[in-house]
Symmetry: C2
Subunit: 365 residues, 2 copies
């Protein structure tokens, strides 16, 4: 029997509650379908810091590196606001991304029909929305050196971060975007600020060259990232795949997620390069939403983004397409049935807890 | 008689057309009210490049430095897409900002009641919206060194930009935000990415210290810039003044502007520090919208953002508050009368040209 190893990092805040619902689904698939998932669990973020003074331990990093896939909940909260920079909760996530070389972050922004009215945007603007933001995740200003605060004397300090991109980093993320576009509407829009940033000039040049060399069948457009933010708000359906750098991707994917009104529903996948020998790629799956410390521990968080992240895991790490589709259909069904956690509550719907939502999805699977 | 010197830089695209409507208002105020405006005009952007190979000439820079205020239209267009980086149209604007030391960029995002339906957001989300984004304009990744593309050999290049902030730069922009908040709802939200950027850590620290030392009466909150983008989409009315750095300010102010549905209406002011001797500050006023090359030369552009920028000029450079209020009231009146350029056209409104809109505003003034 195939075994499939999953390393679970629930993290902080609502992470553990939402991860518990995925664990139900995993148990169900093991029991009913012999899916062969073998899970292990570790600590990340504030909870890891509390346990051993680092946002992730070396032992847990080793397990993450060895697993077929990592499922990640969320990190952070006011409790750790004054933790030193190198130990802050986010450092655990950033180390996972960097050490696992997860350069490709896939963030779908889709509008669930049952939730179109939850958006602050007009229904016709977002109904049927289905875009994919492909964000570069291991480069740019997140990791470039120098990254430091220096004391200049006279009461003055200087804070410095460095945005760095090399040709190969842009080439490989552009390749991911073009490949994915071919499985969708065959359109890629690349966003940067080439009018202000040299890294943007290089980005634009390399995306254009990659397109010409290997993906001329895909429609490619370019947009300045600030104009891109505007256009996402004005008429998001003009986009199919958007490819952009680490920092712009952070901003633009959050705006895109909020457009849909379905923030508590949106998953993401962070992928490495396929191993030339085995074809396997390292991968981490996490909801787009954060740790929501204000509602943590109350059993009211929406587990759907975490469950949808597991569906992405089935799709991208295990090629279990049927199962992924069935999970997505189960989510759509419980929403059609009117089940809602508090964040997506609407008139006439049935309020449910985190666990009730998870149970209903397992039952509908 | 007082003379007030204005240096006009219409720039490219729809810049000249919209500036022509401000010129009408200036002539009117000189003739009817002895306002004493003395104007001169120069070239910036692509039109300056075409004339003398630079995005702004030294002679025009000197005039901009000497004037009481600069009125700026817009720069750029496909014609200049392949101009070398140092000569590209935007370089003219960036040089003006840097050499005039215009560190404080004020970008109001207000929703004109008559236009609430033009927004892609629901009416209740944006009706009555009135927020002010205070963007740092002479620092950060826009100007930090190194900023370069280097050839690494092997077909690899490296693009680098550097985000740099010193304590004093953060202090002075925070001061501007707090002062402005006192004239409004007394609330400032500071946005950065302190969870990823050292410059964000310093930003947060200095804004907090400036607040404690001099502005403890103002309510201060902090938000991560990506969450800020989300919250702008979700419920923008939670904000009053937002203070942020150059690049986040670029992104967030564009998103905020698009929320209002009134992009063709929104002005901005870029201010230097007051001269210790005279109290005067260098200043440049420009619409938030760009050069819109697709509609340039057709006489259909909306001149209101340019006219509203002139109203900001009266307010901030000449303390002509009554006149500024009268211009703003004239704009509101012509909108209430149903006059609309194409970009803000709606059911039952009266379509007018750029010149007709300008004439109507002069008549209503
Ligand atoms: C938690 C934080 C470090 C992270 C980021 O900035 O990348 C988050 O905002 C995200 O988008 O995944
Ligand atoms: C034209 C460009 C250089 C400029 C910027 O990025 O600052 C523009 O987008 C703006 O916001 O004023």
């Amino acid at each position: 029997m195939t075994t499939r190893s999953l390393f679970l990092l629930p993290g902080d805040g609502i992470g553990p509650e939402t991860m518990a619902e995925v664990a139900k689904l995993i148990d169900h698939m093991n029991a009913k379908e012999g899916a062969g998932f073998v899970t292990d669990q570790g600590l990340v973020g504030g909870s890891a810091y509390d346990a051993h003074g680092e946002a992730i331990s070396d032992a847990d990093m080793d397990k993450a590196m060895a697993a077929d896939a990592v499922l990640f909940g969320a990190v952070g909260g006011p409790k750790w606001d004054d933790v030193p920079y190198e130990q802050r909760p986010e450092a655990g996530l950033l180390r996972l991304r960097k050490d696992m070389a997860l350069f490709a972050n896939l963030r779908p922004a889709i509008c669930y029909p049952a939730l179109a009215d939850a958006s602050s945007l007009k229904r016709d603007v977002i109904e049927g929305l289905d875009i994919l933001i492909v964000r570069e995740l291991t480069g740019g200003v997140y990791f470039g050196e120098p990254k430091e605060i220096t004391d200049l004397g006279n009461g003055q300090k200087r804070g410095v971060d460095t945005q760095v991109y090399d040709t190969f980093e842009i080439e490989r993320i552009a390749g991911v975007a073009f490949e994915l576009a071919r499985t969708r509407s065959n359109k890629v829009c690349s966003m940067e600020k080439r009018n202000v940033m040299k890294s943007g000039v290089l980005w634009n040049e390399v995306v254009t060259a990659t397109h010409a060399a290997h993906y001329a069948d895909v429609e490619l457009t370019h947009m300045l990232a600030d104009a891109g933010g505007m256009q996402l708000v004005r008429w998001p359906k003009q986009f199919d795949v958007i490819v952009t750098d680490n920092l712009f991707g952070d901003m633009l994917s959050d705006v895109a997620a909020m457009l849909t009104g379905s923030l508590g529903m949106l998953p993401s996948a962070s992928l490495g390069a396929p191993d030339p020998a085995t074809g396997k790629r390292k991968a981490l799956y996490e909801p787009v939403h954060g740790s929501a410390p204000d509602i943590a521990g109350k059993g009211i968080a929406n587990p759907i983004a975490m469950i949808a992240s597991f569906a992405m895991c089935l799709r991208y790490s295990f090629a279990m397409i049927d199962e992924a589709v069935r999970i997505e259909a189960a989510v759509a069904k419980v929403l059609d049935d009117g089940l809602r956690t508090g964040d997506i509550m609407g008139d006439g719907a049935r309020p449910v807890s985190t666990a009730e939502m998870g149970d209903a999805i397992v039952a509908a699977y």
